[in-house]
């Protein structure tokens, strides 16, 4: 569904991604694990076109989307939920959702404000509240809901558990399972092995801009050596 081949990316002169290769299969949750600064966020930004890839190839649903503009990539069916959430602070919850709304996609049940509220019921009570006056967990729900409004076929979630209380993290895990059940594919970036384990089918480990390990989540849980080498702090 999403195939990334030997992707390179730079911030100015700093070479950050050194040939990332990664495949997300349809209907699966794929987790990208790695320490701070390993390049998880940069990988997602490069896929999304927010950081222009300097070499390599990104293929989505059989089309080459390398070097396209972010809005085109989003319209092709790729949703992106940034690590910093980037809620529009002065817009209300409902207006934030509106910014994400795109045309329905044939063959997919279209997302609506109501469906987002079904997924995250706690948002209903604050539909008129400015996004800037919400807790971290609520903002995380809102930013996911906002991307879902674009009816993506694959959604990239960059560290959705960051800074959240364990109860909320469990709610995120439940939501990701719902999305998977809907048939959505998910590329998840995480440092939280608990959340990764709870939802993922497959895993890749990134370190210093390169994928060091790829396999099923179960295989990773069995591979203590790999976990210790790349993940333990």
């Amino acid at each position: 569904m999403l195939h990334v081949e030997a992707l390179h990316a730079h911030y100015g002169r700093a070479h950050i991604l050194h040939g990332v290769t990664l495949t997300v299969h349809a209907g699966q949750v794929h987790v990208l694990l790695g320490r701070n600064g390993a390049g998880k966020s940069t990988t997602m930004k490069a896929i999304m076109g927010l950081v222009p890839p300097s070499a390599g190839r990104v293929e989505f649903l059989g089309q080459d989307i390398t070097g396209r503009e972010p809005f085109e990539i989003a319209r092709a069916g790729l949703g992106y939920v940034p690590e910093e959430r980037r809620i529009f602070a002065e817009l209300t919850v409902e207006e934030n959702l509106e910014t994400g709304r795109q045309k329905p996609r044939p063959g997919l049940r279209p997302w609506s404000v109501e469906r987002v509220y079904e997924l995250f019921p706690s948002l209903v009570a604050m539909r008129r509240r400015p996004g800037g006056r919400m807790s971290g967990g609520e903002q995380q729900m809102l930013t996911i809901g906002r991307s879902l409004m674009g009816n993506p076929q694959l959604i990239m979630l960059d560290e959705p558990s960051e800074g959240l209380a364990p109860v909320i993290v469990e709610r995120m895990a439940a939501a990701i399972r719902v999305l998977k059940a809907e048939g959505l594919s998910v590329l998840l970036s995480e440092q939280n092995l608990f959340l990764a384990q709870a939802v993922s089918d497959r895993a890749s480990i990134i370190e210093r801009g390169q994928i060091r390990w790829t396999g099923s989540m179960a295989a990773l849980m069995a591979d203590t050596a790999a976990r210790q080498a790349y993940l333990s702090v």
């Binding site: 927010l50 972010p70 989003a74 940034p82 529009f88 817009l91 207006e95 910014t99 991307s147 674009g150």
Partner: protein
């Protein structure tokens, strides 16, 4: 009591027009981050087009209001054309270049208007049925102004509805906060930008068209309104629509009561308010910090000239010294103007390059020097020598005063504040007729007898201006210059090693002002006269163009830029009466084809 009421009503009427112009400007800035100098030109076009339509159509209610509306829509479309042809290609260019490109548009529109409508003021018809005045508690108040207030209120309401209730409005507000994120959500920014440009331009056009019954249409409308609109937008906070409304009310009232209470200094008052607001609230009444940064072109370390470069520079200098005796009078005057341009550019370069500050009002100090010298000659019968000596100190003093405010701010706000101060200086020269002669200027500012011959004056200009430029160059490589670059490149580290960034910037600003003042004085004695145009916006833009043309981060930049720009200017003046349009087109072309900075054209020195 009634007088106060009538004054505040007339303040509301000006606020209504100001708001229409400022609303478009601020929304365009919020979404595209472009400070659109050409917004005033769109306002002017609105007035001209409405004039043509309304005088061409038969008289009556429907043709009048239909003409006004059609003019607004036409200007909206012109705005779209400008966006698609010019601005769309330079959204990623540094802000300074975008600003210059929009100034290029200003120049082109100026000449188009001149070609189509001529240079004379045009007086449009009054609005049908609204010619008279109404009785407001015994005082007469123009009926049309009441209608204008109502229209202003209605547009405010409509805009509020548009921004709160429509998808377009939600997207515009989202883009103002974080347009990259909005793009990642699938929103095509180009469409949004074009839409915003249409809306903003149409509002400016409407404001211009609505002025038709109030004042004559002329070629100065663009600069007059744009500086006021900048004030409103900056006072309100860049990108904030409610801020623009609030600031328009404030400024409108200031103008209305200023005319009664301080008739001499109304213009100054407005800019003073802006300065005070910016010092108290650096992002305006309702603005946010995220709109701030001006990105100067990338900055390689500054190096002294290579031996080869040094040889070339020396040869050029020798040539400039050896050549004058063989030149005719006209060429000598041009030579002297070139020297003045070099010093003027070098003084701006001093704060922009090593200092990392942008000034949009450098003409203030050029003009201050020119006026200081001229006033000494005129009112105290001082000799030229004294005038030349006093000018840099007078301008430097002004630089100390204005700089104290300006160097605290950065980015667009700093640029706007320097512009505002320059407008204060300009308004003073323009309005203080007893002292400065106002628009008629000061005549009879002639050099001392020995410097009257063109050859002598050319040598004097060369000596003072090139000497000044060389001194500035020395300062760049002196401790002050190192401190300036340190605070520019890394404010925190500079502070850690004991550099007081504020004082360094302040001092640099004043020094640059002083040298600009010297250039201004040489200019005054060369022309024999001074006019307010010596400190008007176009002269500030001249300086910016010269610096950017030569490259901000090159030592020889201002020299090359000043020579290239002055040469170009001379040539254009000679070959076409529409030299403004030609210059504007060249500026736009340069920015379009070298969006990473004009200095990227050649090898860096």
């Amino acid at each position: 009591m009634t007088q106060i009421l009538v004054q505040s009503l007339s303040g509301l009427a000006s606020a209504a027009s100001l708001f229409l112009v400022a609303a478009g400007l601020t929304v365009i800035f919020g979404v595209t981050r472009i400070v659109n100098f050409a917004h005033g030109s769109l306002y002017m076009l609105g007035a001209y087009i409405a004039y043509s339509l309304v005088t061409w159509l038969p008289r009556g209610h429907f043709p009048f209001w239909g003409g006004v509306l059609a003019a607004a829509l036409a200007v909206g479309l012109i705005g779209v054309v400008v966006e698609v042809l010019v601005l769309r290609r330079i959204y990623k260019a540094p802000e300074l270049f975008q600003l210059l490109a929009t100034f290029g548009v200003v120049l082109v529109v100026q000449d188009v208007a001149l070609a189509v409508w001529g240079a004379q003021d045009l007086l449009g018809p009054r609005a049908p049925g609204l010619r008279g005045a109404v009785d407001v508690m015994g005082e007469r108040f123009p009926l049309y102004d009441l209608v204008l207030i109502a229209i202003g209120g209605a547009i405010l309401l409509l805009l509020w509805l548009l921004f709160q209730r429509s998808r377009f409005g939600v997207l515009v507000r989202a883009a103002t906060a974080d347009r990259e994120m909005l793009g990642a959500l699938g929103v095509n920014q180009r469409r949004l930008f074009t839409g915003v440009f249409f809306l903003g331009s149409a509002l400016a056009g409407l404001a211009g068209a609505l002025q038709l019954p109030r004042e004559s249409v002329n070629l100065h409308m663009d600069m007059a309104i744009i500086s006021e609109a900048f004030v409103v937008v900056v006072v309100g906070g860049l990108g904030s629509l409610p801020g623009a409304a609030l600031a328009a009310l404030l400024i409108g009232q200031m103008q209305a009561f200023g005319i009664v209470l301080f008739p001499r200094i109304t213009l100054v008052l407005v800019f003073l308010v802006m300065a005070v607001v910016l010092v108290l609230r650096p992002y305006g009444l309702m603005g946010r910090a995220n709109a701030a940064a001006i990105v100067l072109p990338p900055e390689p370390p500054l190096r002294a000239l290579s031996p080869k470069g040094r040889a070339v520079a020396l040869a050029a200098l020798l040539l400039a010294i050896a050549l004058p005796p063989f030149l005719g009078d006209y060429a000598l005057v041009v030579l002297s103007e070139l020297a003045i341009a070099v010093l003027f550019a070098a003084s701006l370069h001093f704060i922009m390059g090593p200092g990392g500050m942008a000034s949009f009002g450098h003409a203030a100090y050029f003009g201050a020097g020119a006026y200081a010298a001229a006033l000494l000659v005129k009112h105290f019968a001082a000799p030229m020598e004294l005038g030349l000596l006093a000018a840099p100190f007078a301008a430097g003093l002004l630089g100390l005063v204005f700089g104290w405010f300006c160097v605290r701010l950065s980015g667009v706000y700093a640029a706007m504040l320097t512009l505002a101060f320059a407008q204060i200086a300009w308004s003073t020269a323009f309005q203080w007729v007893e002292v400065t002669g106002g628009d008629n200027g000061i005549l009879g500012v002639w050099p001392s007898a020995w410097a009257v011959p063109k050859l002598a004056y050319a040598y004097l200009s060369l000596a003072l201006c090139l000497g000044g430029a060389l001194l500035l160059r020395r300062a760049i490589f002196a401790p002050l210059g190192y401190a300036m670059r340190a605070q520019r490149d890394s404010p925190l580290r500079a502070e850690a090693i004991g550099i007081d960034a504020f004082r360094v910037r302040w001092l640099a600003f004043a020094i640059a002002a002083g040298f600009a003042g010297l250039a201004g004085a040489v200019f005054a004695f060369g022309k024999g006269s001074v006019f307010p145009t010596a400190m008007a916006i176009p002269r500030s833009v001249d300086a910016l163009l010269m610096v950017l043309l030569g490259g901000v981060q090159t030592v020889m930049g201002p020299l090359i830029g000043a020579l290239a720009y002055t040469g170009l200017h001379e040539q254009l003046l000679r070959v076409t009466q529409f030299w403004r349009a030609a210059l504007g087109a060249i500026i736009i072309g340069l920015v379009l084809f070298f969006p990473r900075g004009l200095a990227g054209m050649g090898p860096r020195a």
